[in-house]
Symmetry: C2
Subunit: 232 residues, 2 copies
DNA sequence: CGCGCGCTTGACTAACTTCAAAGATGGTGG
DNA sequence: CCACCATCTTTGAAGTTAGTCAAGCGCGCG
C-alpha cells in the first residue's frame, strides 16, 4: 500500500478540527463559505499531496494531522518553508503551478477546493477577496520572520523560536506536540538533525523544556525560552 | 541635512522609470490606475521611509534608486528581507502596521498612495484585487526562494544566486548595478561583509565576474555562475 | 590634499557539520 | 504477549566553513 493513489471521498461537510484552530489571523468567517464546495482528501505519512511544478488546479485546507511545504536543491538538500497545521490553507497562493512540494508529516486529512470555484465565489462576494489577501499576507509575514531566523539567529535561538511559534499555533500555551521528525525540524531551521538533537538535550538539561513521550514537549520556563529566542 | 523630514511634492503624474521595469509578474496594467492618486516622495541615502510598527496609512512604488526592507534583532543583528528596485511596490501587504523598516539604499524617489484610496479603487474594479493578490504572491515566492538560500546554500551559492537574481531584475542580462554596500548584501544573504568581499574576490579571480567601477558588476560566464548557484 | 568610509586581506577562532556508533521507540508478526 | 527490526534519536570525536578581530588599501568628497 505504498504508492497508492490519494483517497478522496464525498465531503461530509466536515469541519472536524478545522473550526477549533483558527491559526491565521484572517478569520474563517468569509472563507467558511468554501466548505460547501470542498472534498476530503486523506494522506498517510510521507505521501505527497502535490509536487513542485504540478498544475495548481486545487488548493487545500488542513483538517487533521500536519503537512510540510518544501523545496529541494539538485543535490538533495532540502528546506521546509513551513509546517501546516489544522486550519491552515495550502497552495492557495499558487497561480498556474505549485512552487513547492507538499507532503504529509503524519497521517493527515485535508479539504480540497477547486481554484475555479474559488474564483467564482470571489466574483460574487468581494469581501472574500480580502480574506484571501489576508491569508497570503500572513504567510508572507511568517516567511519574513523565518528569513530573519535563518539569516541571523544561532542554533539555540532558532530552536527556541520554533518551539514558541509552535506553542503559539497549538493553542495550549505550555505544551506543544511535534508530529515531525528531528530531521524535518532541522530542514525547517537550516540545521542538521544532530544539532537539533543536541540543542533539545541542552534545553532539557537547563530545565527550560521537558520531553514527554509521544512527541510532546512541555515548555517549563516560557520566559527563559523567549529570552533565548531573542525575540525582536 | 541629516534628519530632514521626507520631502513630498505634488505628483506630476510621473511614470519615470516605473514603466521601464515591470519586475513583478503581475502586470502594472490594472495598477496603473493608481498613479492618478499618488504623490512623489524623495529620500536620500539611509533615510527611513517608515519603521517597524508604524501605522501603515500609505504604501509606495519605487520610481528611481533602491530601498531595503529590513528587520533588526534586539542586539543589533540585522536582516534585509529584500531590496526594492524601480517598479517594485513597498508595504502594499501591510495591514494596520508595517512589519519591517524600509530605508533608502541610495537616493531614491517613490510614489506614495493612500491605502484607503486603494481600497476604494478595489471596490470599484474587482480585477484590481487580483493584481494586488498577484503582487503579494510574487513577494511570497521570492521570500520562499530566499528561505532555501539562507537555510541550505553555502556562501558562494548565495552570492551567485544573488547576482543572478539581480541581473534578472535589472533587464540587462550580463551587467548588474549594485547600489547597496557589501554590508547590505551580507545582511541580505546571512553572511558577513568580509565573507561577501572574499567571495567577490574569488569569483573575480575565477574569471566568472568582473568588477567595474561605480558598483557595476559584469557577469562574464553566466552559465558557470548558474552552476555555482545550484539552481534547483 | 587629506580625511572618512567602505572594501579587501590575513590570521585565528567558534559554531556547526560530518562521520560514526550506540541507544530508544514503536509497529509487526510469530 | 513478546521479540524483532526498522527508524528515529542521541552522543562523541574530528573536520570545515564562515565569523571575528585587526590592519592596510582605495576611492570619492569636501
Amino acid at each position: 500500500m505504498l504508492a497508492t493513489a490519494i483517497r478522496t471521498e464525498a465531503a461530509p461537510n466536515s469541519h472536524l478540527a478545522a473550526s477549533a484552530f483558527a491559526t491565521r489571523p484572517a478569520g474563517d468567517g468569509d472563507l467558511a463559505a468554501l466548505d460547501r464546495i470542498g472534498t476530503v482528501v486523506s494522506l498517510h505519512r510521507d505521501q505527497a499531496l502535490f509536487g513542485e511544478g504540478d498544475p495548481a488546479q486545487y488548493f487545500y485546507k488542513v483538517l487533521t494531522g500536519a503537512v510540510r511545504s518544501c523545496r529541494v536543491l539538485a543535490d538533495g538538500r532540502r528546506h521546509i518553508a513551513e509546517f501546516l497545521l489544522p486550519g491552515d490553507f495550502v497552495g492557495i497562493e499558487a497561480a498556474g503551478t505549485h512552487h513547492a512540494t507538499v507532503e504529509a508529516v503524519s497521517d493527515a486529512t485535508l479539504m480540497r477546493y477547486s481554484r475555479s470555484a474559488l474564483d467564482r465565489l470571489v466574483q460574487q462576494q468581494p469581501r472574500l477577496g480580502k480574506s484571501l489577501l489576508g491569508l497570503v499576507c500572513s504567510e508572507l509575514y511568517a516567511a519574513q520572520a523565518q528569513l530573519l531566523l535563518l539569516g541571523r539567529k544561532n542554533a539555540v535561538e532558532r530552536l527556541a523560536s520554533f518551539l514558541l511559534a509552535m506553542a503559539e499555533r497549538s493553542g495550549e500555551a505550555d505544551r506543544v506536540s511535534l508530529p515531525m521528525t528531528r530531521c524535518d525540524i532541522a530542514d525547517h531551521l537550516g540545521l542538521t538533525t544532530e544539532t537539533v538533537s543536541r540543542i533539545f538535550t541542552q534545553l532539557k538539561s537547563q530545565g527550560v523544556i521537558r520531553l514527554g513521550g509521544g512527541s510532546e514537549v512541555e515548555l517549563k520556563h516560557r520566559g527563559e525560552l523567549e529570552a533565548l529566542a531573542e525575540a525582536a
